[in-house]
């Protein structure tokens, strides 16, 4: 059990997160959604309480709890009035150690999750993001949806969930952070309560490998009726926390699309007014994740906006950033860093993320000095090494009849394209 305590007497609240080193990427084929479903089942009965009893007990303590999954981890988290911290940790410890996994509740949760998949189709930006990941990580676990699909959820039975729980929720597979109005000793005591009933176990092996770059430019057009604008999500492979050029790529991405005045925003919104938002981001996980950029132009501007974004990316990689742009990005990252650590909760989760994502030792402690070492030469070398303007996916959510042809024409050297319905899972 690895425990981190972050104390602050500022507000009489205590929070915690227990993270286990297993996530949606590790779900068996055909059982996608298993990790998330198992975690959500914890709230539906355990420690001698039924689901309603759990929720009432949490409310009575002046608390909130959450149980969820990401690609590489699953978590149980809570926040509670400080005077009730021990009671909440006792309650959550009971849920972790002795979940009921009632078959009737599992069936209800599966139906609820399936309904949520349908509701999610109303979120156009989410549809674009999923289309991008399906194509960018084709054949790799990162292409999956952590929530699973209608069919894989339907296949889940009590034995699947109970077996998953027994295999992965163990003290030696857990990282715990406790933060807020509690001292170091008190925090460790709360952490012990959280996992008191779990077996010692062992860390879950991680069989996932880095995704491979898929050559060529690919368009995935998500056809949805009655759209007045297009959601454009463009991506290629990005970074790992232990890459030598990791910090250089962070600086480069910040200069290109990481702030309101960065190149991408200045060109798309500032000069042309084509989209309310325009940004780029480097995702981070245990293995190489995506670099992506997003805009949402009106239907008439979408082809030109897409062409501009591709051109900006080509110029970025070919010509690089200026010394001034790099200096600005470094200043922004260094000075805004204080907002990454201005509350106990942020400091606690920063440490937790570093642990569960397997970031190099001292990642956060050396972050500012590593950013400070980046110059334009290093930033531009990282761009050339990591971002490929020729091997990328363009995911578009729009109305096919009006938008497909001009969108297709806006992508030079397009190697592959597909039109998919917006309800594709």
């Amino acid at each position: 059990m690895r425990v981190h305590v972050e104390s602050s007497r500022a507000i009489p609240l205590v929070g915690f997160t227990v993270a286990f080193g297993v996530g949606g990427a590790h779900d068996p084929a055909g059982k996608e959604g298993l990790a998330r479903t198992a975690m959500r089942m914890l709230r539906r009965g355990g420690g001698g309480l039924d689901g309603k009893g759990v929720e009432q007990a949490v409310d009575r303590l002046g608390a909130e709890i959450g149980a969820d999954a990401s690609m590489s981890t699953v978590t149980v988290s809570g926040e509670v009035l400080a005077r009730n911290a021990a009671a909440l940790c006792e309650l959550v410890g009971g849920l972790l150690a002795r979940p009921a996994f009632e078959p009737v509740e599992l069936s209800k949760l599966v139906r609820e999750s399936q309904a949520e998949l349908v509701e999610a189709r109303d979120n156009d930006r989410g549809l674009a993001s999923r289309a991008l990941r399906r194509a960018l990580f084709l054949g790799h676990p990162y292409a999956r949806r952590v929530a699973g699909g209608t069919a894989s959820l339907a296949s889940l039975e009590r034995d699947d969930v109970a077996g998953w729980h027994a295999a992965h929720l163990a003290a030696n597979n857990a990282w715990i952070t406790v933060y807020g109005d509690v001292d170091e000793a008190g925090g460790r005591e709360l952490a012990a309560r959280l996992v008191a009933g779990l077996p010692a176990g062992a860390p879950t092996p991680d069989p996932v490998v880095d995704p491979a770059r898929r050559p060529g430019r690919e368009l995935v057009f998500v056809d949805k009726p009655e759209r007045t604008q297009a959601q454009l999500s463009i991506g290629t492979l990005g970074t790992r926390g232990d890459d030598d050029d990791h910090h250089a790529l962070i600086v480069a991405n910040t200069a290109f699309g990481g702030t309101f005045t960065a190149r991408l925003m200045a060109e798309v919104r500032g000069k042309r007014g084509w989209s309310y938002g325009a940004s780029s981001r480097l995702s981070l996980d245990r293995h190489r994740e995506a670099w992506s950029m997003w805009t949402a132009p009106g239907e008439a501007d979408a082809p030109a906006c897409l062409a501009l974004q591709l051109e900006l990316l080509e110029r970025l990689v070919a010509d690089g950033l200026t010394d001034e742009e790099v200096a600005f990005a470094k200043s922004y990252l260094a000075r805004s860093h204080v907002f990454e650590i201005d509350t106990a909760e942020k400091r606690a989760h920063r440490e937790l993320d570093a642990a569960v994502l397997g970031l190099p030792a001292g990642y956060h402690a050396s972050y500012l000095s590593r950013i400070g070492e980046v110059d334009a030469g290093r930033a531009n070398a990282a761009l050339r090494a990591r971002l490929s303007p020729e091997d990328l996916v363009v995911a578009v959510v729009g109305t096919r009849a009006r938008q497909l042809a001009p969108i297709t024409a806006a992508i030079p050297r397009l190697a592959r394209s597909a039109v998919v319905p917006h309800d594709l899972e």
Binding site: A10, I11, P12, L13, R43, G51, K52, E55, Q56, V58, D59, R60, L61, G62, A63, E64, E79, V80, L81, K108, R111, E112, A115, V118, E119, R121, D122, D124, K224, P225, E226, R227, T228, Q229, T259, F260, T261, A266, G270, R272, G273, W274, S275, Y276, A296, P297, G298, F328, S331, Y332, A334, R335, S336, H337, V338, F339, D342, T343, E345, D423
Partner: protein
Amino acid sequence: MTAVPSHLEGRVAFVEAHAFGSGEPVQRYRLANGLSVLVLVDREAPVFSYQTWFAVGSRHEREGKTGLAHLFEHLMFNETERLPYGAFDRKLEEAGAESNAATWVDWTYYYENLPKDSLALATELESERMARLVLEEPQVAREKEVVMNERRMRVDDDVDGSVSELLYSTVFREHGYSWPTIGWMKDIEGFTAADCAEFYATYYAPNNATVVVVGDVDVAELLTLVAERYGALPAAALPAEDVRPEPPQTEPRHVEAHKPTETERLVVAYRGPALGDHDHAALSVVNDVLFAGRASRLFRALVQDGELAVDCRGWVSTFRDPGLYEISVTARPGVRAEALLEVLDRELSRIVEEPPTDDELERVKAKLELGALSGLQTVAGKAEQIGFWSTLTGDPSDAFRRLAAVRRLRADDLRRAARRYLTPSSRTVIFVRPSGEEPSGDDEETDA
């Protein structure tokens, strides 16, 4: 209290201290031109939040010019007499700022969260755009384009956004709460630089603003900077508000809307109390008994046990004038909105007839205490509470008075509030159906 430095006497006056929970009080100062300055020193982290709250929102617009208050949320980051386009944001980002703005029916506010050594920069930039914004055709035209795209994203291509707009325009027929804060598309298209200049001159003045500063600041230094930067700005002759009170709703209203979605939705609204109304806290707790958390009555009845809905929410609007008690429910595939309404009506009748149990009341109170404290973990969260309450009720202490009022509530108070507001005649119901199911013709409204 931090005394006003002697060199500022006559320029800055201490007004009063407002209790703010169990910690340091909020100090209120005022400049001769009417600018209010609220300060809360908080040295938990070497940062501060600098917020400027203007007492202007979409309610102050008029038909044909809707969305003007929100357009300013964009224009205020643009060119000023001393700063070319882009320089405002560039200076903030270079200093490491988090910055943005928000507009709603009663207010607009701008904020930047900065490292503690940037107080001079914050006062320089905020005073500059309060008085010296450049509002000419190119600047206005560019931001109109951006706002039209924002509207497409938040409203035209978003089911919840478009239904919310429909709800407010159906309920309110006189009051300025009738139109959307982002504005009607045709109004946005029609804005001119002259419209903007007039609005700016009318409402963006020190005597219509409150500067809220929370964080690791030296109060004497802050007051000196504020006096230097804002002291010479002229006050405006603020117009008497031409508000048209919304007459009582005496008949239920019903609308059928068709949207590109796969599942039906139910939206129900009752006429609600103003934020300052005595019953606002009680009705909010009624709402929490019904909707807050997975143990709440309607979450169990509609989502968890009934398996009719994927989501349900309720909210008592926090507006200066009487607003709405809004309820929205998203159906599961194949479930009709009428089935949702049947369950909702059953539970609403129950809460009118049977008061919540002591256990329900205690659970809701504990959750509200948690929520109130959670919002105060950052300097920005504290500043937002101070600015919001000061702008809406005139007193930032109301944030905690509200919590105390909630603690005093008894079951009978909740039943009284439910009976007063959950009246069939003041109800509006919207059934949202998937596109393709509609008969010929547009969305239909009836007074049922």
